[in-house]
Structures are given as C-alpha cells and as structure tokens.
Amino acid sequence: MAYQLYRNTTLGNSLQESLDELIQSQQITPQLALQVLLQFDNAINSALAPRVRNRVNFRGSLNTYRFCDNVWTFVLNDVEFREVTELIKVDKVKIVACDGKNTGSSTTE
C-alpha cells in the first residue's frame, strides 16, 4: 500500500473535494470514493519518482520537530527554498515526511 501522504496536496485535496461533491449528490458511494483515493495514492507515488528529476535546497530555522510513527513533522521559519531557477522565501513552512526507505505502512494524513 502506498503512502496516503500525498492526499494533502493541491492535487489530492481537489480530488477529495470532488469525490465529496459526488457523494453529496449520491452519485457515488463513500466506499467507491475510498477506492478512488487508494488508487490515487498508488498513482501519485509511482508517478513522482520517475517523472520528476530536480533538486531543491533550503535553509531556515527550525521551530519545532516531531517524530512519531516514523513520520517527521517540522515547522521551519524564515525559510529560503532554492532551486536552480528560482528562489522562494516563506516565513513559515510545515514539512511532513514519511520514511523514504521503504514504502511500508500507509500513513493516514
């Protein structure tokens, strides 16, 4: 089972919202929606690695850190994300990271 990590992204959230609307109008069942989300997890996990090939560096100050259930959650302040092409500055960023060594258990967000 792939990580459910990516459900809280623009892509994942818009999918969930769309599914919710269809459930509201009773065009699909919640069970079906869940299946779709699971399929989405697989698709996004398998799409990311081969299709994306770029690198980002960042630097900032660490505000909080948490490691629970093999998931790291950080909150950084005054961060600069640097890519070759551009520089992105944010005052606050939250980083949620699952174990990258093996996509073992699925983690619900």
Partner: protein
C-alpha cells in the same frame, strides 16, 4: 534543463496522474455499477478545482474547454440529472419545479462559461463572479452561519441560472428561477469580480412573486440580479427552507407531490434577511456596544494595554500570528519522504525526496531536497 521548468513539469505531472487515476478507477466504477458519466464528472470536477486553485499554472485550460465542448456534444440528454446546459437545449426549460431531480448539477456547473458562486449570508450575499473560488474555499473564507452552506449558481450555456443549495442537512436543492422574469428597469448593481454585492432586495421582490410561486414554500433570500452576458436575471437565493419543505426535498429528488402540496399552503414568504438572522442582529448590536466601550477604554488608558482595569475582554489586541505570514490563507506545506534526518547539537540536516510543495500558493515538486536549519 531539468530545473528550468518546474513550472512546466508540474502541470504535466498532474495531468498524467489524473489520467492514470481516472483510467484505473474506471473498472472500479463499472464494477460498482456507476455510469461512465459520473467518472467524467469526477474528472471534470477535479480538473476544475485544480484550475481554480491557481496552484498550477496554465493547467490545460484550453484543452479543458475543447474537451468540454466535445463532452457536451456527446452527452446524451440525461434527464435524470435534470440539467441541461447545452447550446442545443432550448433556451428556456419549463421544467416544473417539483419534477426536477434534486441532484447537484455538477457538469453544468463546471461547464459554465462563468461559474458564479453565491454564498448566502444571513445579511449579506456576496457574489463572486468567476472569482476562482471553489465552494469549499468560499465557505472557508466567508463566515457563514451554521446552517448555511455555499449556494452554487450554475450558469448554463443557454443562459439559465440554476442554483444548487446545500443545506445543513446535507440535502441539496436545485431551484430554477423563472426565465420569464427579467427585470430591466431595475437598478442593477454592478457586479465586480471578487467584490461584495449588497443584496438587492426590495426593488426586485415586487414583480417577482408571481414568477416565483412555482417554487416550493421556501424562504426566499434576498435576490440578486446577475449579469449573464447581456441578460439580467433575477436569482432568488434560497437558503434554508422551512422544515417541512426541507424534509420533502431530498437529494434523491423524491416526493414531488409533497412539495406541490406544500406549495399552495405556504404563501410566498419573501424575507429580506436570513432565517437565522436574529442572532446576528444581536451580535451586531453587541459589537457596536463593544466598540463604544473600546473607545472609552482607550481614552482612559491612554492606549496602554498594561493596566487592565476595565474588561480585559477586548482591550487586549488579538495577537494574531497570522498577520505575520505573507499569505495568511496558505500554509506552506511540503509533503515528502525522508532519506535521512541528522542532528548535531542544534544543527539539523534534512535529506528529503519525492516531495510536493505548496509555497506561497503555488505548487512545486522535487525529487531531492537538502536542507539545513538551526533549532
């Protein structure tokens, strides 16, 4: 130039993920006995939300419109969704109110040329014309009374305006304003995209009662006149129907006869304000009182919030952490996997991979990220 186009790779990646997902779930949909049409709706909804979020640039908007046109031509006239938006459809659908299936007109809403979201507030109706806000986002940004959820107005290609009202009980209603009522002599407030419209109420109400009677006995919210191209139409916005009517109108669109029965019994109640209005009126009064108190307090204290002799309730300013953020409504999030997290004293090093970032409202993706931070 792998990096030169994070902006190019992101839409492509999203597009391919969407395609993969839709194709993979097609079988699941069919196994569940769900029509392919619903699958297409899902896809359309999904893509539109992505476009609306503006997190991704140039997300195939042109392809989208081409697809939509193709879809429209191929769609069979499905009455079971009730709604028809095609250019082929007659300009006016005289579908009696009660026989409308109360289903959300999702395809129409997404295919509308100018999706309009109207969020009825107890006092105020804010009309956002193509403001690129989804219903959910609209609800989040506007303070809505508890029982009110966004009303989605669906502007069809034929110029019809239908409303989807999602009430607190989860049922959704569709109301079709009478096409015949087109007020041209009224003073029409200009609609500004993203602007807030004061409800135009009294002027509109007068000629309408006759035209609105087919509507079930629901409370009519302040009505708005919308610009739809060159036509101006009056859209009665209904929010909370009286309980009997609510019980009757379910999302599956049953019980039309009951709705009909209620219709002659409940005379058209034109309300200027919302159903749950009394409370907000009280709030307003209280707020006004508070403002006066605040002013007095400030004069006394000399703008020092140190000595709090008077009520500490509102003399304390909001320490809103939010204002420090550049974009208060975007929490910048990075969702990824970690290869290695290292710490030495208070120096942390992050080795991350396969991440999706949403920074300052925009989406970025990386295959590797390395970072340093001090705690």
């Amino acid at each position: 130039m792998a990096n030169s186009a994070n902006t190019n790779t992101v839409p492509k990646l999203y597009r391919s993920v969407i395609e993969d997902v839709i194709n993979d779930v097609r079988d699941i949909f069919l196994d569940d006995g769900v029509d392919e049409q619903v699958l297409m709706e899902l896809k359309t909804l999904w893509e539109n939300k992505l476009m609306q979020s503006r997190a991704v640039d140039g997300f195939h908007s042109e392809e989208q419109q081409l697809l939509l046109q193709v879809q429209q031509q191929h769609q069979p006239q499905q009455q079971h969704h009730h709604h028809h938006h095609h250019q082929q459809a007659p300009p006016q659908q005289t579908v009696p109110q009660q026989t409308q299936t109360q289903q959300v007109l999702i395809p129409a809403s997404q295919q509308a040329a100018a999706p309009q979201v109207i969020v009825p507030d107890s006092k105020l109706i804010q009309h956002m014309n193509a403001s690129n806000m989804s219903a959910a986002a609209t609800a989040a940004t506007l303070a809505l009374p508890a029982g009110v959820t966004p009303v989605q107005q669906i502007l069809t290609n034929s110029g019809q305006l239908l409303q989807v009202v999602r009430a607190a009980n989860g049922a959704q209603y569709i109301f079709q304003p009478q096409q015949s009522v087109v007020l041209q002599q009224q003073v029409i407030p200009q609609m500004q995209p993203g602007g807030v419209q004061a409800p135009v109420i009294q002027q509109v109400l007068a000629p309408l009662p006759g035209g609105i009677s087919p509507q079930t006995g629901v409370i009519i919210q302040p009505q708005q006149i919308l610009f739809t191209g060159n036509k101006t139409q009056v859209i009665p916005t209904t929010v909370a129907a009286p309980t009997p009517a609510q019980a009757q109108i379910t999302a599956t669109g049953q019980q039309p006869p009951q709705a009909q029965a209620a219709q002659p019994q409940a005379p058209l109640v034109l309300q200027v304000d919302g159903t749950g209005d009394t409370s907000s009126e009280e709030d307003e009064d209280e707020e006004e009182d508070y403002d006066d108190d605040e002013e007095e307090d400030k004069e006394k204290d000399g703008a020092e919030d140190g000595q709090v002799e008077e009520e500490p309730l509102n003399s304390e300013d909001d320490v809103s952490d939010e204002e420090g953020q550049e974009l208060f409504d975007t929490e910048n999030v990075v969702v990824c996997q970690y290869d290695k997290i290292h710490r030495s004293k208070n120096k942390w090093k992050f080795h991350l991979k396969d991440g999706i970032m949403n920074l300052n409202g925009r989406d970025y993706i990386f295959s590797k990220a390395i970072g340093d931070a001090e705690w």
